[in-house]
Symmetry: C2
Subunit: 412 residues, 2 copies
């Protein structure tokens, strides 16, 4: 029996990613226990995320950098549990170093624009020659055939259909602040990577794993055939409420909003009792699902009228007392401070390597609890190139003189 | 070199899930090549998704069932590539059959309410005794400690903070039609399952994997520390546009909407040329990022004024000619018919076991392209219990008389 380690303990990942989608994929692999070696360009200050305002400084958050120890919030979230080495992939000598690393690694993850890895000589074709069991994962906007279109989150959201799943018919599209276009592709990239590693562990055969941001988000949209449902009268854009499931939707109390999901007879009866109308439970206008759907407007109006004059605490207590599925609508600040979520480490405090925990700053955790293995995303993000000597020395056996030489030549 | 098979070929999954979150997790495992055996209750018509209106009938989609061959759209999407056996888990004799299956399996996935698997004697504690290398994954609303709260998608959305990431300050919460609360947890459940299978393949040690719907979605929300960013003046809810990145957001043309992401100097210059104002490129009001942020309202107003009088095709052509990252906002019907997405099988046509492809009906694909392994989600969903004899016969070695006897006793 081993001490508690991540389930991916023993696997090494070379991380060529920047921005959000790629780094989130390697963050998850790191949280699952893989060793993630982030390869950064020394000539431009490393991953551009290091230069995303705001920064954590000795005095808290700031829009400007105030000292060399300051670190961007983006890097503090996405760089956790990773090691950083510098390698100038445009330098001819770097390719050899990269391929020596690839020989020792199990996984490469990259999210360069189309054609870049080929030009640099570090694409899958190059890597498989030195390490045929390696899994090489590419995350791009539109997939390997998709060309070089700009794949920013808002573009992916627009093309995927998700913007037209909120609001009411005729409303403008609804842009989501949560960058789902950036965040869903890395989940599929991790699923693809782990599947390919399972295959490689069994057969010794690595492969290329190609994940598209548009394809990932659109596949989620296609989990429900919305347009086919609309064709038989089950509309998608119904705004705050869902008449077809009445009583169902979000409503306003004096000091906040709440959601109700009470489509069954029993839940609807509880709802009518909660709003002080037990007399309506057996009323033919509300007693059956069909009747409630027909009278959804009235029913939702009664809820709104009742709740609009009451504080949220009273509303939720009345719903709970009558076993009606309901919840407050929380903002992100409240949601990430949920005690149960924090206790399960699905969200974790962010720690700066010098300044420690920054009051009020939380980041994503690894939302999987294993009975035997550990997960961890508590190790602060590294400084640029912090582990260059460690990795090239201990992993590749380079001596100090060689490392100094490579640094002098601008390779590192 | 093997013929093309899924990377999970050779793994067997017992699928105890119902509704959406659980079945989507096992659908992905099936798409990756695992053998998924869906265990359904014979006494209530199997998985409740079989009774979700609408149905595919010989005459197309219908809100009512018209024949025994009709199949619900929900089952057609979620049941693909699975086998179905019946097993009445409330019958005392069923536990023995289940544990015999568990002895042959690699993975169990369940999403029962809290306490149910214990009561039925099929929880992880029971299963590990007969198969210590098995991975047992539970998907629940709030995790193993979370109690029995009703975890419907809208409740999870409300609690996670996502509803407050769209719209503008003071707006009501924005309910998403895409059930992100239901769809994100299964992605983490598959990540957790595959990680634990990797560990089990290496060590022989299985384990329990516990995934919460609320924790999964909240962890995504925590990928960006929105409330900390707001504290330094980077607001989250900015509606259709993002002034801090201007020109950036969604805008209206005569016949539709489009998105622009043009925060850099070069993109902004292209945008000004596209709207017929090359004279403004060097104007100090628009030439720098800081100036554009200061004048975001004006700049976005100029775009809107230009596009509102033009058809979408002309608007997009002008933006493309000037290399401005832009895209049409598509509805879900258009998005799932994207040629590239269909060619990559990220969305796939749905096929009824009797009636074949149903015009206009598409479902989720497996949005990962492997260079060596295959993925597949083209096999129609099974009828209730369609593989009962096959599984109990070929996998467990039951003879026909035993199967008949079990059926007569109400076990199957």
């Amino acid at each position: 029996m081993s001490t508690k380690r991540g389930p991916l303990h023993g696997k090494t990942v070379l991380d060529l990613t920047t921005a959000l989608a790629g780094p989130y994929a390697t963050l998850l692999l790191a949280g699952l226990g893989a060793r993630v070696i982030k390869i950064e360009n020394p000539t431009r200050g490393g991953d551009s995320s290091r230069n995303n305002s705001p920064y954590v400084t000795g005095e808290g958050l700031s829009l400007q950098r105030t000292s060399a120890q300051d670190m961007s919030v983006s890097m503090m979230v996405r760089g956790r549990n990773k090691e950083s080495i510098t390698l100038n992939l445009k330098h001819p000598r770097s390719r050899e170093v990269f391929l020596e690393l690839a020989r020792e690694a199990d996984i490469v993850v990259e999210n360069y624009s189309a054609g870049v890895t080929e030009r640099l000589g570090i694409d899958y074709a190059a890597v498989r020659k030195v390490n045929p069991r390696l899994v090489y994962t590419s995350i791009s906007g539109f997939g390997a055939q998709g060309g070089d279109g700009k794949a920013m989150d808002t573009i992916i959201q627009a093309l995927s259909g998700v913007m037209m799943t909120a609001g009411e018919p005729g409303d403008p599209p609804v842009r989501f602040g949560l960058p789902v276009g950036d965040l869903v592709a890395p989940l599929f990239a991790v699923i693809g990577t782990l599947s390919a590693v399972l295959h490689a562990d069994k057969t010794g055969e690595g492969q290329h794993v190609d994940v598209s941001m548009l394809g990932s988000l659109t596949s989620l949209v296609a989990c429900e055939p919305f347009d086919a449902l609309e064709s038989v009268g089950i509309p998608l854009r119904t705004g705050a409420v869902v008449p077809r499931l009445a009583p169902f939707g979000t409503f306003r109390a004096v000091d906040g909003w709440f959601a109700i999901c009470a489509p069954t007879d029993a839940f609807a009866a509880g709802l009518l009792r909660a709003i002080g109308r037990p007399d309506l439970v057996d009323d033919p206008e509300y007693a059956t699902r069909d009747a409630r759907v027909r009278n959804a407007g009235d029913l939702h109006g009664r809820i709104q009228e009742w709740s609009a004059r009451r504080p949220l605490s009273e509303v939720l207590a009345a719903l709970e007392a009558n076993a009606v599925p309901a919840a407050p609508v929380r903002d992100t600040a409240e949601a990430v401070r949920d005690e149960l979520v924090l206790s399960r480490k699905e969200v974790v405090p962010l720690v700066h390597p010098e300044f420690g925990f920054v009051e009020g700053l939380y980041g994503s955790g690894l939302p999987v609890t294993f009975s035997r293995s550990a997960t961890d995303l508590s190790r602060p993000a590294p400084g640029l190139g912090e582990q260059t000597e460690l990795v090239l020395g201990a992993l590749l056996g380079y001596d100090d003189a060689t490392i100094d030489q490579l640094r002098a030549e601008g390779v590192l």
